[in-house]
């Protein structure tokens, strides 16, 4: 298993986290067509390489973060506090903590080994 550098707690075992999945921009529900909405729900880039994804530290600080990870080597090159945790594949999980961290967004939390 890999070590994930939580944006708040530091390096932790990946088993403490919930992998929410690829960060996908949520279309405006008011104006999106059914086609666009289903694309947002189901279609994924699934790259073999660097990807930006959302993780949720469910057994730690219970906050969301964004991670840039290489899907072939599992290397992690950037982590930042992400407030947009309510993205793909979240399966109805409560996101009560997710709105608090706007000030830290974009701040890199350094490197961590895979």
């Amino acid at each position: 298993m890999i070590l994930l550098p939580c944006a708040w707690c530091g390096p932790r075992d990946a088993s403490e986290f919930h992998h929410v999945g690829e960060a996908v921009a949520r279309p405006d529900p008011g104006t999106a067509t059914p086609q666009q909405w289903r694309g947002y729900l189901y279609l994924r880039a699934n790259p073999c390489g660097w990807t930006t994804e959302t993780w949720y530290h469910r057994m730690g600080c219970r906050r969301f973060m964004k991670v840039e990870r290489h899907t072939q080597t599992n290397e992690i090159r950037a982590v930042w506090a992400g407030e947009q945790g309510r993205s793909a594949g979240q399966q109805g999980r409560s996101a009560g903590q997710a709105g608090q961290s706007a000030g830290q967004a974009g701040q890199s939390a350094g490197q961590a080994g895979g």
Partner: protein, 432 residues
């Protein structure tokens, strides 16, 4: 060695093989020490083929075989970036079953079991299919309810499945701990007699041999680097072995299927997760059925050599890395011992991982795509091997006729745009 003529009549079954395997042949070669002829030959990559199949696993090779055998289409190339069966076809736990949850799923997988039953005779290759029965354990009321549901759906489709109680479970698998003191007591099980295990390598090799005998070209170590699309239809495939002009491309690459579909510009609802499995040292035969526990995320069978094969659910995050983890084997050991405490001293010999192309509804993505001539046979998640023959048969029909066969109609890529999903999570998420 005689290869059957190309361009035969469509629909006519042929059984021409380079050399039929027989007891007499075995004896003769045993006495004379003559070399066995190769099961398939290597060819240089031609500049054009009628059909190019990407992926030399059970799905790709079965499609090639049925294209040739059922439809007389023999100008076919099967490309694989590694060796045949190097992906999911050689990494699964070789379990076959058809006790699914939706009528569409049950019909589809049942056809696969029927084809598997006749496969050794059809391919003249011993695939060692052992229909030993398949037992899915229920540890809580919710699972038991789903099993009753599955049993009824199965019966309506003519598939043999029934719910049995702990006493009957103990009779079929005496080493299982069915006491009520267990952490997760066994309340009942779905008993599915047609399920069983098979030798997965033999299935791959048998299809390869059968396809090659009909004139199909098999190109191993040939990686696809691009797909040429013009005016919304496929024109060719670029590979590490040279460019190929073709009008039909089938993507049968499972865990890597989104990478191939990207080359054709087709977006897929697929995410790639590793799935790990492990095998123990061989022990005396004691387990005559396949045991699955959804609650404990484990499935167990014993091979003819006596090894115990364990599988689990997919890893908790997406990855293309096929590495094993200590966390997996630790968790697996705990779950297996929960079911069969007598196995404490059995040692695990090795563990490995394969890639699973998971879809949102746990059903495959099959058939035509918005790009004309580009077909997909993907989204096989954790249940691809058991569907190999029926997928090959249906995709061959799809290519030959240009129409989508009824049996795969529910599994089209367009269902995600239409919102008509085929939810199989209740029967496909762990149990295999």
């Amino acid at each position: 060695m005689q290869v059957h003529a190309i361009g035969s009549r469509p629909g006519k079954r042929q059984t021409a093989y380079p050399a039929r395997y027989s007891a007499l042949g075995l004896l003769r070669r045993g006495l004379t020490r003559a070399q066995w002829p190769p099961s398939w030959r290597s060819h240089p990559v031609k500049g054009s083929y009628d059909v190019v199949i990407i992926g030399g696993g059970v799905h790709g090779l079965a499609a090639a075989y049925y294209l040739a055998a059922n439809h007389g289409i023999t100008d076919v190339a099967v490309l694989d970036k590694g060796y045949l069966g190097s992906g999911g076809s050689g990494r699964n736990t070789a379990i076959l079953r058809s006790n699914y949850l939706t009528p569409e799923g049950v019909r589809f997988y049942d056809r696969s079991i029927q084809l598997y039953r006749g496969l050794a005779a059809e391919l003249d290759f011993n695939v060692m299919f052992s229909q030993r029965g398949h037992l899915t354990l229920a540890h809580n009321d919710a699972s038991l309810r789903t099993m009753r549901w599955r049993a009824e759906v199965n019966k309506v489709q003519g598939v043999d499945s029934e719910v049995i109680g702990p006493a009957e479970i103990k009779r079929r698998a005496p080493f299982l701990d069915v006491s009520q003191e267990a952490r997760y007591p066994i309340l009942g099980a779905l008993w599915h007699p047609p399920g069983g295990i098979i030798r997965h390598d033999a299935v791959v090799w048998g299809y390869a041999r059968g396809a090659a005998a009909h004139g199909v070209h098999i190109h191993q170590n040939t990686q696809v680097t691009g797909i040429d699309v013009a005016d919304g239809r496929v024109r060719g495939v670029r590979t590490s072995g040279g460019d190929i002009a073709t009008r039909v491309v089938l993507n049968a690459t499972a865990g890597w299927s989104t990478l191939i579909s990207d080359m054709a510009g087709v977006a897929m609802p697929i995410q790639t997760f590793p799935l790990q499995a492990a095998v123990t040292e061989p022990v005396q035969p004691f387990l005559s059925t396949v045991i699955v526990s959804g609650t404990l995320h484990v499935y167990i069978s014993q091979t003819d050599r006596g090894e115990l094969v364990f599988g689990a659910s997919v890893d908790p995050f997406t990855s293309y890395a096929m590495r094993g983890s200590l966390e997996f084997i630790e968790g697996l050991a705990g779950h297996v011992l929960e079911l069969m405490p007598a196995l404490t001293k059995v040692r695990v010999l090795r563990q490995w991982a394969g890639l699973c192309d998971m879809t949102p509804d746990f059903s495959p993505v099959m058939g035509h795509t918005p790009v004309q001539g580009f077909l997909v046979d993907a989204g096989w998640g954790t249940y691809g091997f058991k569907a190999g023959p029926v997928s090959g048969e249906a995709m061959a029909q799809c290519i030959a006729s240009g129409q989508t066969p009824q049996i795969i109609a529910p599994f089209g890529l367009d269902r995600f745009a239409d919102g008509v999903l085929v939810g199989e999570k209740g029967a496909a998420a762990v149990g295999h």
